[in-house]
């Protein structure tokens, strides 16, 4: 017979749960924590005392006291003291941010990335420099508890190696390892697929808060995504799951960067839209996509036809996802936010024709609440994962 969890395991679990609570929900009164976590007052007090002693949270009197009587103390995360570095490696940009416990972006640096052949040094160099600059500006009593990166490519769960990234031109890049070496903070760098992390970010802090079954679609140059099922990210056997952009929707269709034909990405990605609008070449990126949506809005019939075509394929892709996963919500992020808003009549018409009626009846279609920061916010959450799992142990290690 297996023994139940030890006292120590239960305590660790509860410490993590409490810290996660104030990290995600912000300052919370002891009374509220008691009822939300289903623990008694004295346990909450003991847990809070431990986290306070470790410098992870602080207890304060609430700012405004609405009611009479003794106000319950508010537990707030030590946002200025405990932080992570979040990195975002996109096709067109590199971002590094220092994010405090609780999710506030304390500092941030960004640069444009040239499209072209992949060079590890050209990615790691600027990000390491950004992190160093931000690190120098921190007060001595601050502590970094994790580093994580969102990478536009397929990341192996086992070793954090970026196995493929057709739009970055990268194959088998040991990005995490190299990044950790250059940062020299004594911390590993966890790496995740950018769209997977953005999905998690929308689930934890964006439009999908409280929604346990969600499909997120991310439009960059390519189309990525993430599937949240029962509150957890669906990674698959090796972590490559959720590549919704490589779902084949049109076998006779356009060639995809992955070598296949008619992938969702090939039919609705940036290039597909710009080519259909007769605008490929002159301008690329988000601005070019916005220009097509604007032109369509002003009555340009070529731009309208392009959006309508792309919207139709997007609707077909979403219909497949809805039939397979029965999500409560589908979120459009990156440039797909603009594409969805500019072609929603087409997207939903196709969806209404092709998705099973019970699955689409209560489906909510939403645009990202985190915007272009979704991937970065997701990286920050990945970086916080360790300290939220075992607060005292991680803090002891980081502080030493």
């Amino acid at each position: 017979m297996r023994a139940g969890p030890s006292q120590e395991e239960i305590r660790r679990h509860n410490l993590g749960a409490l810290l996660r609570h104030v990290h995600l929900s912000g300052p919370t009164s002891r009374a509220e924590l008691t009822s939300r976590m289903g623990l008694n007052r004295s346990t909450i007090m003991a847990l809070t005392a431990d986290l306070t002693a470790a410098g992870l949270v602080r207890e304060e009197l609430p700012r405004e006291t609405g009611r009479a009587g003794r106000p319950s103390l508010v537990v707030r995360p030590e946002s200025a003291r405990v932080y992570v570095f979040a990195l975002d490696v996109g096709v067109d940009r590199l971002v590094a941010a220092r994010v405090g416990l609780g999710g506030a972006v304390l500092d941030r640096r960004e640069t444009v990335r040239r499209r072209g052949p992949f060079s590890l040094e050209e990615v790691v160099g600027p990000l390491a420099a950004f992190a160093r600059q931000m690190h120098r500006r921190t007060r001595p009593d601050t502590v970094c508890v994790g580093v994580a990166a969102a990478f536009s490519g397929g990341v192996a769960q086992s070793d954090g190696v970026v196995r493929f990234g057709p739009n970055m031109g990268s194959v088998d890049v040991p990005f995490g390892e190299e990044m950790a070496r250059r940062l020299a903070l004594g911390l590993p760098v966890t790496v995740g697929n950018d769209a997977n992390l953005a999905a998690m970010a929308e689930h934890l802090r964006g439009v999908g808060v409280g929604c346990r079954d969600l499909v997120y679609l991310h439009g960059d140059v390519g189309v990525g995504g993430g599937v949240i099922a029962g509150g957890a990210l669906l990674g698959g056997h090796q972590g490559f799951g959720g590549e919704v952009g490589h779902m084949v929707v049109n076998p006779q269709g356009r060639l995809c960067g992955c070598g296949s034909r008619g992938c969702l990405e090939a039919e609705v990605g940036e290039r597909a839209l710009l080519e259909a609008a007769g605008r490929f070449g002159s301008q690329v990126g988000r601005e070019a996509v916005r220009a097509v949506v604007s032109a369509a809005d002003r009555g340009d019939i070529v731009a309208q036809a392009a959006l309508s075509r792309v919207g139709d394929w997007l609707g077909l892709g979403v219909a497949n996802l809805v039939n397979v996963f029965n999500p409560e919500m589908v979120v459009f992020g990156g440039m797909l936010r603009e594409v969805y808003l500019g072609s929603a009549a087409q997207v939903r018409s196709r969806l209404n024709l092709d998705a099973l009626s019970p699955s689409r009846e209560h489906l909510r279609l939403r645009t990202t609440a985190l915007g272009d920061d979704a991937t970065l916010v997701g990286a920050a959450e990945l970086a916080f994962a360790q300290v939220l799992a075992d607060p005292l142990e991680v803090l002891a290690r980081a502080g030493s």
């Binding site: 936010r337 939903r348 018409s349 645009t367 609440a369």
Partner: protein
């Protein structure tokens, strides 16, 4: 689900001209209902009947399931119905806070001080995730079209309304501002309000609505769920009052 607002058999004439014929219209909490129809179909007139600007000639007006008499904008506001009219009424020479409290300074006999008003305005904009205005003490004349819509909508929300009706809020806006207003509309409904959105743009309608109500020559052709119809069907309802099994037969809804 019970509609928060329901109209039945509404007739409305201006002199000899009958503009609304036997119109039924329901809106639900937590949902966006798109009200569509060609120019002159009667959308704004219907909304003005809801808002107590135009008295209805006959028909029933139910709020939260109970029959009510709405004879003035004050009655509508008292029920928690706020309308942002097509020709929206903000005062250019006042700042955002002043606009949001315009005409409401003495509600329930309480005189609000400046600090309280400022805090309430700021909190409302914050709750709607409105981050585009720099200062709430900015004059409305210095705002862009999208920001003006945003302030008008925030004003509607500030008073704990249950129903917010927006008459063509995106008509004069560019793509980027339209996107923000649409997302705001969606957020309002997701916070539990019933929202009515009037628009001629089918992408806007399909992007955020849960239901579509189509008016045709002053008659309600159909009220459908957005998840049950295609763009082509809605266009047919708008232009001919019919689409397959949906719509009017000899002027009577199916």
């Amino acid at each position: 689900m019970t509609p928060v607002l329901e109209l039945r058999g509404i007739d409305k004439s201006f002199g000899p001209v009958q503009v609304l014929h036997d119109v039924a219209f329901s809106v639900y909490p937590g949902e966006v209902t798109a009200l569509v129809g060609d120019n002159g179909a009667g959308k704004s007139t219907l909304v003005k009947c809801v808002g107590g600007i135009h008295p209805i000639d006959s028909g029933e007006y139910l709020f939260e399931g109970k029959p009510v008499q709405v004879g003035s904008p004050r009655d509508a506001a008292g029920l928690g119905i706020e309308i942002v009219y097509q020709d929206l009424a903000l005062c250019d020479n006042l700042d955002i806070v002043q606009n949001m409290f315009l005409g409401r300074e003495h509600k329930r006999g309480i005189v609000l001080d400046e600090d309280t008003m400022e805090e309430m305005a700021a909190r409302t904009l914050e709750s709607l995730s409105v981050r585009t205005v720099k200062s709430i003490r900015q004059h409305v004349s210095s705002l862009s079209g999208g920001q003006r819509q945003t302030v008008a909508i925030a004003k509607a929300v500030l008073w704990n309304s249950k129903v917010v009706i927006l008459d063509e809020p995106t008509a004069a806006l560019g793509v980027a501002q339209t996107a923000q207003v649409l997302e705001l509309v969606r957020r309002l409904a997701d916070q539990g309000l019933a929202v009515v959105l009037i628009s001629h743009n089918m992408n806007d309608v399909f992007a955020v609505s849960d239901r579509i109500a189509a008016l045709y020559l002053g008659r309600m052709a159909a009220q459908v769920k957005t998840s049950d119809v295609t763009h082509a069907q809605v266009v047919e309802l708008i232009t001919s009052g019919r689409s397959g099994d949906l719509g009017l037969t000899n002027g009577v809804p199916a």
